[in-house]
Symmetry: C2
């Protein structure tokens, strides 16, 4: 048996405010699509892993592993749920990767899902705060816009990053999402509108922030033998790494970098024996546009402090040297927190298969997905490649 | 490198209503004890896995992987949380097992934790219901006592199981817990008191039910090379298996058995190349005493329907042929939901190391821990052995 882990099927529900569907319906929808895409027989799937952040608070339902096995009609499979805040989806991919690599499982169905719109906005905001340090941040009113506001302000002070640069990330990601039929916001947005949108936490405006979203994404992951049996276009996981940092912002040496991302991205490149210049396409966690700017630096696309300029100069746009978030990213594809990490991997896989039509990065052979949790207390990096 | 996975350190907080401590304090306490017990250097630990069911609702805090890495001062390690309802602890052990077997990690700190007493009883009950099928059970008032009440009533009808037998499980487990310094209830309870305690959901009485508990348990798990470096008494995981079943009780063919347990226990014995008679000591998930009776049957200690008689005849008591829950079980050690699966493995490891003093099963060489979620929608089985 080859010891590489492959992705042979991908699926997604539409991302958005899905009032007419519940968590199990969107999860089933994504899973069925991934199974259909892979052409695998349901009988060959021997475990399920679900990435989810807080369905217990958003919907009153946890135990999502068993739920997924149940609604999928896949029988009495091992099934469990993984949580790492907004990096829960990436954590599910990484857990499945290790489970398959261990030989315990041959082929797995991997989900990311979140149904956020069933609670009111205040409860949604409080629920998201479970990812911060509740006792030292959330409890005192330091919401995520507030925390990222401080990071952004400091980045502007230290490196001269501008409000226009923060806004250009939005313009770029909306332009990309216009070509993504699964995105929440499939329309461009002019710079003027972004810069004139309401302030959430100075300097962060509403159009610098990812939205509240319902959605699910799914993968069929398997070992090399199963991949060869079912797929002509398997995408392989060249590296899977993870790092963490202090939960609270005030405990860090610097709030203008995400140390966990720096470490895990460097480790991933080492494991895959690649340099950053070998990566053709990126999905970087842009929960706020300042995050994308920081991650552009922390993964090594540009030097620290140059992330704002990178977007201004078009380096990270479709057609640029380092295209970031061709899917529209969290900002415009939407950010159902537990689903995002899986959706990032779905996008990279589709890019490497050359199936992204108008948002396709030509000839992409290697891609990187970076999924973070909280203000960067968790970072999960996957490098994918095709043969 | 040997490819077995070992447990070289165990730790626990006291289980109980720990008003004076928060989630991070009890987690740290258990982790420090496990590290000290193993004598491992913190630098040799390269990942963290946390089993937790619903800290987001119980305490407002999720992202417990990063939290554990943070409070433990262990640096920027990969760290994540696993959820499978009341089987979350077992799921964490199983995830760590696969992570180490995959070669991605060499030595891991594994936690189970839950702080349940910070919310009121109604909210605690609602939170536990996230493990049932919320839309078809919990929402309509079918709490866990109600669901297990139906299972118990049916078991009594089909097999003649008696209220006295349901109560004798409590008597046995309290007698065992009297010798466990970490147990919530370290005192025997007379049969008369159990049978006279208040009805929760006929035939289930309050003393047939596990309590609301705060607590944490921890393990240091590693590959064989690390184990040999640090430990003279490594305990090995001979098998780790998992199964699932429909989330809702009404979807099952039978409500007097837990199919997921039957499947995963049989698979575990096959993997470990053992028969049930080779197992010297058991920790079986007794969230309600009827669960222990059903599990005694479903793992194969006795035939279906004979679980009540087994406890009546002393088969499962300390000194019996198949001692079940020498720790006191969920009933008397306490049931901090996410911690329980890890605490079961802690007990089995201590039993195999011969360190259980008055509750020691003499000469125990093989032990089995069965951790279930919901009404049996998840089952996770570990068989442990010493060389």
């Amino acid at each position: 048996m080859g010891n590489r882990v492959a992705i042979i099927g991908v699926g997604m529900s539409k991302f958005g405010e899905l009032w007419e569907k519940n968590l199990r319906e969107i999860t089933l929808e994504a899973g069925m699509m991934a199974i259909f895409d892979s052409q695998i027989s349901g009988k060959d799937i021997d475990a399920i892993c679900v990435g989810n952040m807080s369905a217990g608070r958003f919907t009153g339902q946890e135990h999502l592993g068993a739920l997924a096995a149940d609604v999928g009609g896949l029988g009495n499979l091992p099934a469990y749920s993984v949580e790492a805040a907004c990096a829960s989806g990436g954590a599910a991919v990484r857990q499945a990767y290790m489970s398959i690599k261990s030989g315990e499982h041959d082929a797995m169905l991997v989900f990311g899902c979140e149904k956020m719109s069933d609670v009111n906005q205040t409860e949604a905001m409080n629920t998201i705060s479970v990812a911060s340090d509740w006792e030292w941040e959330g409890l005192f009113g330091a919401t995520f816009p507030a925390l990222f506001g401080m990071m952004a302000r400091r980045h502007m002070m230290e490196y001269g990053t501008t409000e226009e640069q923060l806004s250009l990330v939005t313009v770029k990601n909306h332009a990309n999402a216009a070509h993504n039929p699964f995105a929440q916001f499939q329309r461009p947005v002019p710079l003027k509108v972004v810069m004139g949108s309401g302030l959430l936490a100075d300097p962060i405006r509403i159009l610098h922030s990812s939205p509240v979203t319902d959605g699910a994404a799914a993968l069929v992951m398997c070992n090399e033998d199963v991949a060869k049996k079912y797929s002509d276009t398997p995408i392989y996981i060249d590296a899977s790494t993870q790092g963490s940092d202090t939960l609270a912002l005030h405990d860090r040496e610097s709030i203008t970098e995400m140390k966990a991302v720096k470490i895990s991205a460097r480790q991933a490149l080492e494991k895959a024996k690649l340099s950053i210049n070998d990566i053709d396409v990126f999905e970087l966690h842009d929960s706020f546009t300042i995050s994308e700017i920081m991650l552009t630096e922390d993964v090594g696309i540009v030097e620290k402090g140059q992330g704002g300029k990178a977007v201004e100069e078009g380096l990270t746009e479709l057609g640029g040297k380092f295209p970031v978030n061709p899917s529209g990213g969290l900002k415009a594809r939407g950010h159902p927190v537990g689903a995002t990490g899986v959706a990032q991997v779905v996008e990279i896989a589709l890019q490497l298969r050359g199936e992204c039509e108008k948002r396709q990065v030509d000839g992409a052979e290697k891609g990187m997905a970076v999924n973070t949790g909280g203000t960067g207390a968790t970072s999960i990096v996957h490098i994918l490649g095709r043969d």
